[in-house]
């Protein structure tokens, strides 16, 4: 122990970092299309029950994460209606797996992502879409050629926020996916466990520093990307 440098990560720690990145990336990649769709419906849609839908989307923001994890267990557990269906038909098991950890973080980060994308969508000048219409572009064409490129900075921002939130999600992950090293033990879970363990202080500190580094790196990267996208799309 003493021979090791305080800054070299143990295998378990490397695993936790790697796993966190995988869980968060998969969570963002999976939920992004749904978030764009949801943002679209909330920004442009006019239908009965929109307020209720809006509230449901934002629910994870105000619910205790443990409750979200518990609800996921009920729905997606092997005996839950959706989990049972997935397992019987596709052999997919979500509870207590790293995929399940991604699902839990995706649900928790979803409202943040939708919010950022919706703001960007609201800022897109509808007049430009009208102009595209008069130039012969149908609805899908308009969305792909005008709306989507113009809201790209917002989508990027949403993805970054969701990624950061996914890296940090604790309650929903530990409830739904449990705390299995190498499988579902992401950074915050590993830190929690290190704190609980006698002599785990150094490990907790290292992992905490790593969390900070990851978060900062993510923010800087997103700022650079956002600048590029803004220059490309000519949006302010």
């Amino acid at each position: 122990m003493a021979a090791e440098s305080a800054f070299v990560l143990s295998l378990a720690e490397q695993q936790a970092v790697w796993l966190s990145l995988v869980v968060a990336l998969r969570s963002v990649a999976f939920s992004l299309p749904f978030a764009v769709l949801t943002a679209w419906v909330l920004s442009r849609g006019r239908f009965w029950g929109k307020t209720v839908f809006d509230s449901v989307v934002h629910l994870p923001l105000v619910l205790p994460p443990v409750v979200v994890g518990y609800l996921l267990l009920i729905g997606f557990g092997v005996r839950g209606p959706i989990g049972h269906f997935l397992y019987e038909n596709f052999g997919i098991r979500l509870a207590f797996t790293s995929e399940g950890a991604s699902l839990a973080t995706a649900v928790m980060a979803f409202p943040l992502m939708v919010r950022a994308i919706r703001l960007a969508l609201d800022a897109v000048d509808r007049g430009l879409e009208d102009a595209a219409r008069t130039l012969g572009a149908g609805a899908i064409d308009r969305f792909m050629s005008i709306t989507l490129p113009l809201m790209l900075p917002g989508i990027l921002a949403g993805a970054v926020v969701a990624f950061a939130a996914s890296l940090g999600e604790f309650g929903a992950v530990i409830t739904f996916a449990s705390n299995i090293p190498g499988e579902t033990q992401t950074l915050p879970l590993a830190i929690y466990q290190a704190i609980q363990t006698p002599d785990g202080d150094a490990m907790a500190a290292r992992l905490a520093l790593l969390s900070i580094a990851l978060a900062l790196g993510g923010l800087i990267l997103s700022e650079i990307l956002a600048r590029r996208v803004r220059a490309m799309t000519g949006t302010p």
């Binding site: 000048d125 595209a132 219409r133 008069t134 012969g136």
Partner: protein, 355 residues
Amino acid sequence: MISVDIAKRLDSFALNVAFEAGGGVTALFGRSGAGKSTIVKAIAGLVRPERGRIQVGEVVLFDAAHGVNVPAERRRAGVVFQDGRLFPHLNVKQNLLYGFARAKGEKAIDAESVIRMLGIEALLERKPATLSGGERQRVAVGRALLAQPRVLLMDEPLASLDVARKGEVLPYLEELNARFAIPIIYVTHDADEVLRLASDVVLLAGGTVAASGTLAAVTGRLDLPVEAEALGLGVILEGRVDSHDAARGLSAIATPLGAFRLPLLAREIGARVAIRVAARDVSIALERPAAISVQNMFDAVVEEVRPSGPHVARLAMRAGEGRLLAELTADAVVRLKLDAGARVVALVKAVALAR
């Protein structure tokens, strides 16, 4: 031929208009809030009227009675918006080709001639944010043209430009109709633009058509509609360039009234020109003054005198084979004893006719 007959309830008033437009430039002229832009949006398919019918050429774009409502993306109505609405994430070339790439069938209007005509060769790689207002509007015109429209709808395309920028775009617009043979509906509240560009005019007030017809007919009546007051009373004379006198800096135009002299025109001999003689620019004398700067004098017979307001009168005269209108003070009418049948000399300053 474009025929529009629509009704639409708006927040502040009800739009209820019917008019026809030919193959030239038809100006929809009226104050802000007269419903001009709504008419353009209805023709383009961006606003749905409650009642009525819109037809362009042989194609019915909207017919409420028969449930016809062609979606905007299939109407082939090119729109030039006041604010240009260029796509900020695309460069000029990509903007120009946006509609062109989506147009179906034979493309009569090619990119090269449009780019050359609008003088935007040097801008192709630029992003809209780096263009001046005038450049932006020229690109917007090109983009609409290249979508191969059946009709070009221009919604106050110069309203957001300052005078210098307007002067930058106007000459291109003047050429447009002649070059591409596409009917143009031109929305504006600027009388100068109407007088420079339009062959026909629809006067709008409070959501209804106050008067419509050729520019000459609408502004050539002594009982000028109040909505046309800003355009001013006047006649439009069709003529041909007869001769140039470079030494004196004058061109002579043969018109039904006789020869008109005006400052040297850059047009070939024999070219058709239309000159508008505003009634305000016509003075009346009882005999030909000997030493006077005025270049154009015509013997005329007064046909009608009609007061317009308490201190101003309007005069219709026959001169040569044509007609001339004048606006005078009521006092002048009394002093010169002007009445129907009076023989007078009508004086028109050459510089008043310069464009």
